[in-house]
């Protein structure tokens, strides 16, 4: 618990130290309202605000801010069911390695074909364009890839709607990201890109840690570190609860 808190603090400090001096020269500065989302037992989801500033260019007609949020990566197996003797059975499967557990996107203006060709496709930004690396490649890989994204969107782990980066005046901008109750835990990276004239002029990466805190974290840690004691404790608790309930009802 304390070790985890210390690690988070270190990450935070290094992140802050990383871009504080650079801020004077860079055309883009951005930061989060909070670098740590604490999942407590009452957690029902939360909002994080990313805010920042760009240097005031005279002509900002082609200026776009693109923000990408990525969760920690997992390996995911996508399975497809097939009917065998009247019963639906998992048959073919494709394993995707290093898949982000969470993905969201925001932009200061709607995506157009121009932006798609110059930035989004080359950088692999967006659910349709992001890099998902399959371990094996069957003929209908596209179906499996589409299914992975579709199921993730349904689960709320991938956000299909592009968020709105709002400009306050000419230089300041902000964007709101919502993280649902079942958000995956771990270290997130938020990438902010400043695009001018079809090129990325400046980019900044800022970390976000989503972790369990308090009772929930204690339970999770104990269950993994002292599994046998945890199991015995659960049984003892259940026995006591059953006995207590009996006594309670007998007196009435």
């Amino acid at each position: 618990m304390t070790r985890r808190a210390a690690a988070m603090l270190m990450l935070l400090l290094s992140a802050l130290a990383g871009f504080a001096p650079a801020a004077a020269e860079e055309p883009l500065v951005a930061d989060l309202s909070s670098h740590l989302i604490a999942i407590t037992t009452g957690f029902t989801g939360t909002d994080v605000v990313l805010f920042g500033a760009v240097d005031g260019a005279e002509d900002n007609a082609g200026e776009v801010i693109v923000v990408v949020v990525r969760g920690p990566s997992n390996d995911i197996i996508v399975r497809r069911k097939q009917r065998v003797m009247g019963i639906w059975i998992n048959r073919d499967q494709v394993r995707f390695n290093g898949t982000p557990s969470y993905y969201a996107l925001a932009s200061s203006r709607p995506f157009d074909s121009n932006l798609d060709a110059t930035i989004l496709t080359p950088y692999g930004i967006g659910l349709d364009r992001m890099a998902l690396t399959p371990e094996t490649a069957p003929g209908d890989l596209g179906d499996f890839r589409a299914a992975l994204v579709r199921r993730k969107v349904e689960a709320g782990a991938y956000v299909s709607a592009v968020g709105q980066v709002a400009f306050l005046g000419n230089q300041l901008f902000r964007v709101n990201f919502h993280f649902p109750a079942n958000v995956p835990t771990g270290s997130y990276l938020i990438e902010v890109l400043l695009v001018r004239g079809g090129e990325v002029v400046s980019a900044q990466t800022t970390p976000l840690v989503i972790g369990k805190i308090g009772l929930g974290a204690e339970i999770y840690d104990f269950a993994h570190r002292h599994a046998a004691f945890y199991g015995l404790g659960a049984i003892a608790g259940a026995l006591l609860a059953g006995f207590a309930a009996h006594l309670m009802f007998r007196r009435r």
Partner: protein, 310 residues
């Protein structure tokens, strides 16, 4: 009111979990079944991962069974001798079941085997019970005065190691209840249930125990089988969510108390028909999901959270 479940890693409604626990606890106390075969599908429907649902409900079954068994104990309706013999078979059977489970996992398709096992056992047991009890009910209505022989002598009574079970008013071979316990223990390990829905009818029809004793004795052995499942799941998979189990058992123990009381008021044959109807409903619902085309043919499974940032 929402609460974050630390092992299931999602938020759920406290009241909903309490009500579900209570309803399943009532059924558990009423019929002397652990209720796992009802609870696991319901929890999975709420979006709780199957592994967490199976493991956490086992913890809840421990509490519900203790609470239920005490009610029956006060009425003198627990045959401890029979329970111990069943349990010896049950522990052997569950060890064998764990071995069988790893074998199935190595071959693949363990999910399908579990679903099929549920469908076949629930369908078979529910169907047989329904058929038997309805026929018995009709026969009794038609010939109210007809006398029934206490029990028939078959090859079963020729088996060695005969034991006297006073509470159950039986003098049978110990191999019979031990064998029943073995099969139920094996199923418990594979399907993640306490197996009472098979044990209760087996005790009534196979062993010929009086229905009143069956419920208490079944609950008695369910405590140990469910405790065993809880421990193994906690050690091997870390999938026991104590917070989820706690909420379910608060509802469950209260429900089991009411269920235990209500069980004395209902006629035995009506209870059998009700239990058969519940078991058949679950079997049909499970069978339907196997046969009907799923909404999405694709499913995801996270294999390794390698913890690396992108």
């Amino acid at each position: 009111m929402q609460i974050y479940l630390p092992i299931a890693e999602l938020s759920s409604n406290i009241l909903l979990l309490l009500v579900i626990g209570g309803a399943v606890g009532f059924v558990s106390g009423l019929f002397g079944v652990g209720g796992g075969f009802l609870l696991t599908p319901i929890l999975m429907f709420l979006g709780i991962p199957p592994a967490v649902a199976v493991a956490s409900q086992a913890t809840q079954v421990v509490a519900a069974s203790v609470s239920g068994v005490l009610v029956h104990w006060n009425r003198g309706n627990v045959d401890f001798k029979m329970g111990l013999v069943l349990l010896m078979g049950g522990l052997t059977g569950s060890s064998f079941g764990v071995f069988l489970f790893s074998l199935l996992r190595a071959v693949g398709q363990v999910d399908l085997v579990i679903a099929l096992a549920y469908f076949i056992t629930l369908g078979g047991v529910g169907g047989a019970m329904m058929f038997e009890s309805v026929r018995a009910l009709l026969r009794r209505r038609r010939r109210p005065g007809a006398l029934r022989k206490l029990h028939q002598h078959t090859w079963v009574h020729g088996l060695p190691f005969k034991m006297r079970f006073r509470k159950s008013r039986l003098y049978i071979s110990a191999l019979l209840p031990a064998g029943v316990g073995f099969v139920v223990g094996m199923m418990a390990a594979i399907m993640g249930v306490s197996g009472s829905f098979v044990l209760v009818p087996a005790m009534i029809y196979l062993l010929g125990m009086p229905t009143a004793v069956v419920v208490g004795t079944s609950l008695f052995q369910a405590i140990f089988v469910a405790a065993n499942v809880t421990f193994l799941q906690a050690v091997q998979n870390q999938t026991v969510d104590v917070l989820l189990a706690f909420l379910l058992l608060v509802g469950g123990v209260v429900g089991a108390q009411f269920g235990g009381r209500a069980s004395g008021r209902l006629p035995a044959d009506i209870m059998r028909i009700l239990l058969a109807a519940i078991i058949l409903t679950v079997a049909v619902a499970l069978g339907y999901t196997l046969v009907v085309k799923p909404d999405d043919l694709y499913s995801l499974a996270i294999t390794a959270a390698n913890g690396k940032t992108p």
